[in-house]
């Protein structure tokens, strides 16, 4: 009985992890029932080998070193895009002048792939941290800016009138209605921005770096160290999951007033 309630309560967790465990076991068992041709065996690895490589890289401090470099580029780029994109999105949504002034640039930059700027960034900022921060920023700032802007544009007119009727100035209006009303949009933008920022880190390090997790993956691949490649991939996957969960946590904290979705059949 107790086991049954435990299972229903944690249903999605049990199903999720259970499935992963099964997949990993299947993958591990591939060499037992199938002999790969020689050429392919070179590019094949198993979870246990990946785990061993991970342990190795952990002990010799490689991971820590690369992780640190990537994390700095990620945090600095994302932080910068929040500091710039959020206020700019709010202002663009409220001021028609600013909207007319900036909209062509936002649209054209956002519609074009940011990667085309990478060679120029490397020329300007070198292969150090700065070119990567700029690329991360360029990827993350637009979803944040555009989502914030969309949120402001969709603000509830009645609520704006309510607040204005109490004599609120533009700044108070922003703080009391516009910002809270746009919050779901901003959070969605943040989620997109995180994805873009991770992509920026990886791509930046693939092409313009001698350090970082992206570089670790790229250089391992050129040396046929497939298990190291998988270590890098697994780290990025884990980080993405953790960051997504963190945003969800942030969202549920900020939107604690929102009605619980009722359980339906």
């Amino acid at each position: 009985m107790k086991l049954k309630t435990f299972c229903t309560e944690h249903e999605s967790f049990i199903l999720g992890t259970g499935f992963i465990v099964i997949l990993l076991a299947l993958w591990e068992s591939v060499p037992l029932w199938y002999t790969l041709p020689k050429g392919m065996a070179l590019f094949f690895t198993t979870p246990s080998k990946v785990a061993a490589a991970f342990q190795q890289l952990l002990i010799n401090g490689e991971i820590e070193k690369h992780f640190y470099v990537s994390a700095i580029a990620f945090l600095a780029g994302l932080g910068l895009s929040i500091v710039v994109g959020l206020p700019l999105g709010l202002l663009m949504g409220r001021s028609q002048t600013l909207e007319a002034l900036l909209d062509p640039y936002v649209t054209s930059f956002n519609a074009s792939p940011r990667i085309v700027w990478l060679p120029l960034m490397i020329l300007w900022f070198g292969i150090g941290i700065w070119s990567k921060i700029v690329i991360v920023f360029a990827g993350a700032v637009f979803p944040l800016l555009i989502n914030t802007y969309a949120g402001v544009k969709n603000v509830n007119r009645v609520l704006v009138n309510v607040v204005r009727s109490f004599g609120a100035n533009e700044w108070q209006l922003m703080k009391v209605v516009v910002l809270p009303n746009s919050l779901p949009y901003i959070i969605a933008g943040l989620r997109l921005a995180i994805g873009r920022a991770i992509l920026g880190v990886v791509v930046g390090e693939f092409f313009g770096s001698s350090q970082g997790l992206g570089y670790m993956i790229a250089s391992a691949a050129t040396n046929y160290k497939v298990d190291v490649v998988f270590v890098g991939v697994a780290i990025f996957m884990a980080l993405s999951v953790i960051l997504t969960l963190a945003v969800k946590q942030l969202e549920s904290r900020l939107a604690s007033w929102r009605p619980e979705t009722a359980k339906t059949f």
Binding site: V158, V162, V163, S165, F166, G167, V176, P180, W257, P259
Partner: protein
Amino acid sequence: MRRPLAKMPPFIRANDITLVFKSKNRDPVTALNNLSFEIERGEFVSIVGPSGCGKSTFLNMLLGLVRPDSGHMQMNGTPIKGPGQERAMVFQEFGLLPWRTVTANVELGLELKGVAAAQRTQRAMELIKLVGLNGFERHYPHELSGGMKQRVGLARALATEPEVLLMDEPFAALDAQTRDLMQAELLQIWERTKKTVLFVTHSIEEAAYLSDRVIVMTARPGRTKQIIDINLPRPRDYEMRLTPEFNEIKSRIWEVLKEELIPGSRR
């Protein structure tokens, strides 16, 4: 409630108000055309009129959110040029901030005025009690019924101690019983606080029950068609609605309003 001296200016005065909505790719809509009337301090005045005749637009003007194209609006002898704390509105669809608790919603006006937190919470508590929402201070709007939400709207409007309460179909979204209850409570609060109330409604019964005078507006473009005095004794109670006098007044309002509602019957 009548003016004691003919020389004293009326408390609220709207004079020849005209407003035309102009939008791109669309014919201009004349919402109000030469609307005029006067309201005395402490009066309870209702406005009835066909849908789309500009009642909400007019309340928004008095609130200071919409500027007329021509005409004058005065309150206490000074022209109305924007929002002011002597006027507050109770909105039709409540207009509560969904992310704020009942208390924080009631505090809104005081907060925007810069009243200290402790003071405004105390004031909010008084008003929550006045509208009978004790025990729901920390609830969010989505946890309240329609009637409770409108009590919050009323408390919020009263919090800044306005002299005039503008109410735009405040009870339209409520069921019949809750509506009766809210009407009775509004009358009690009005008698206690001596506010001037301008009340827009589609219900003739409601207008007749609550008001000192009922302004009947024409179909769009809105003008004052006729002003009907309701000389029923106060305090009024539910039983009064069953008297022949009350029904006579209702049918008088209906006779005037009817001409505006039936197309082609005007003039």
